[in-house]
């Protein structure tokens, strides 16, 4: 059970308080109807799935309830950093 630093609670908390919410920084297009099928597919389904440095979202669902972003190495499972939603990609 990994420990995750919640940037809102500002402490490390156990994984079972959190829900992973998939890749980070995939913004919903402002005008979905203007998207081609391929663009929409990319938004919906295409994922980086990197081996290594990964931007992902977590929700501290059984804590402060906030969604936030993280950079984690998917080979070591170690977090590089976590930061609040809306902050620029790190």
């Amino acid at each position: 059970m990994i420990l995750i630093h919640c940037p809102y609670c500002d402490e490390k908390r156990p994984e079972i308080e959190f829900a992973n919410a998939g890749q980070a920084h995939i913004a919903r297009p402002l005008d979905p109807s203007g998207q081609s099928d391929a663009e929409w597919e990319t938004y919906l389904f295409i994922r980086a799935n990197p081996r290594g440095r990964h931007h992902e979202r977590w929700r501290h669902v059984h804590g402060c309830g906030r969604f936030f972003n993280a950079v984690r190495d998917t080979v070591t499972d170690k977090f590089e950093t976590t930061y609040k939603a809306g902050e620029p990609r790190r």
Binding site: D37, L44, F45, N49, R51, R72, D77
Partner: protein, 417 residues
């Protein structure tokens, strides 16, 4: 290839088993092949075998970054079944089940396919409806699957707890008698040996580091840790690592890779006659021929290539097993391990062509790839040989994520009201 039989075992015994040849030669890469398979798991080795056996392409290399069968082939719970709901899935998995039958003889390698039956439990009214729908669809698709009452389920699998007071009582079960298990390592080794005998090079410790494409965009070959290897046909069958390989060709894929754990108990005398799965309780179990109870756990929730799962997943899995089979509470967990499963948005595989000419893919099998091994191998081989998908794998294309024609078995099991 030395033919395996009781007789050969007998005669070689008198020579102290000194003159058994290598089951497959440890090949070094040649400069070029007619086809390359990236990934030496059961699927990839099977594809190489069928390319050589059925489609006449023998100048084939299988490139494996580690040791063959070392990925999900050697890390799964070996369940085989084909009682899927949608026609597309039922046809795909039943194609595999038909190939499983007789595979030992075809490969001259006992892969120990054991048709002991796979039973899926219903714990609530919604489960009953869902399994009935499966059974009805399977019947009209010619796939065996039958409904058992709780008492019939218990008769088929005596350790099952069918007390109505259980937290998740058993309301019935769907049984596919042709379902069962096979010996996972033997599948990889059997395909490797048979493929090698047909001229396929099995190249281990050879990681692909790049995909070279020509001016027209088509594949020309692959860069590896053992040098450049040319081929105009490259099939990628790399399970959890598919995204990484595809990015070498500039393709982003609708995949995410998660850790999946499994575990076995200490071996005991025969006690558990079939395979039992429960989606509601999240557990599945069988007993290996060695006597170990083989138990599948769930995936962890985050993308990871660490092959390392969390303790709480194991806790939940064993709590579930002990609820369904309370006689095993004193059994002991001997070994746990983790695999990396690649999961698509609709949890069905992608098997076919890619936007890059000459590049083919077989991925996205999630937690269920082992059962498809011969079928996936055959269909990848067909697709590579003909440069077009077989009608069975045609629906499992990449386009479905754009046009919306998803094949979502899990969604069909859906939510409760």
């Amino acid at each position: 290839m030395t033919r395996f039989s009781a007789l050969s075992l007998f005669t070689k015994a008198f020579g102290g088993h000194q003159n058994w040849p290598a089951q497959w030669p440890d090949a070094a890469p040649k400069p070029a092949y007619d086809a390359i398979i990236v990934g030496g798991g059961g699927h990839g080795l099977g594809a190489a075998y069928y390319l050589a056996k059925k489609y006449g392409i023998n100048n084939v290399a299988v490139l494996e970054k580690g040791w063959i069968g070392g990925g999900n082939t050697g890390r799964n719970t070996t369940i085989i079944r084909s009682n899927y709901l949608y026609d597309e899935s039922a046809h795909l998995y039943d194609h595999a089940v038909k190939l499983w039958d007789g595979l030992s003889q075809e490969l001259n390698y006992n892969i120990m396919y054991s048709k002991r039956g796979v039973m899926m439990l219903a714990h609530n009214v919604h489960d009953v409806q869902s399994l009935q729908r499966h059974i009805n669809a399977n019947r009209l698709n010619g796939v065996d699957n039958e409904w058992l009452t709780p008492e019939e389920a218990k008769a088929y699998c005596p350790p099952l707890n069918i007390s109505p007071d259980a937290r998740h009582p058993v309301l019935g079960a769907a049984l596919q008698r042709r379902g069962g298990t096979a010996r996972h390592d033997s599948v990889a080794w059997g395909y490797a040996r048979a493929a090698a005998a047909l001229g396929v090079d099995i190249i281990q410790n050879c990681a692909v580091t790049g995909i070279r494409r020509g001016a027209d965009g088509a594949v020309e070959g692959v860069e590896t840790t053992r040098g450049y290897i040319a081929s105009k046909r490259v099939g990628v069958s790399a399970a959890g690592n598919t995204s990484v390989i595809m990015q070498m060709a500039g393709l982003d894929f609708p995949l995410e890779s998660y850790p999946l754990q499994a575990l076995v108990s200490e071996p005991i005398k025969p006690t558990f006659p079939c395979v039992v799965m429960s989606n509601t309780v999240h557990a599945y179990m069988s007993q290996s021929d060695k006597g170990e109870l083989v138990i599948g756990a769930g995936t962890d929730q985050y993308v990871s290539y660490s092959q390392r799962g969390a303790l709480h997943i194991v806790e939940h899995t064993l709590a579930a097993i002990c609820e369904i089979f309370p006689i095993y509470r004193r059994m002991r967990m001997l070994r746990t391990w983790g695999g990396i499963v690649d999961v698509t948005p609709d949890r069905s595989p992608i098997l076919g062509k890619t936007p890059v000419q000459g590049l083919y893919v077989n991925c996205g099998w999630g937690t269920g790839g082992f059962k498809a091994t011969p079928g996936a191998g055959d269909l990848l081989a067909y697709t590579m040989a003909k440069d077009e998908p077989h009608r069975i794998n045609a629906p499992f294309n990449l386009d479905r994520f754009r046009n919306g024609r998803l094949i979502d078995e899990a969604a069909a099991a859906a939510v409760a009201h």
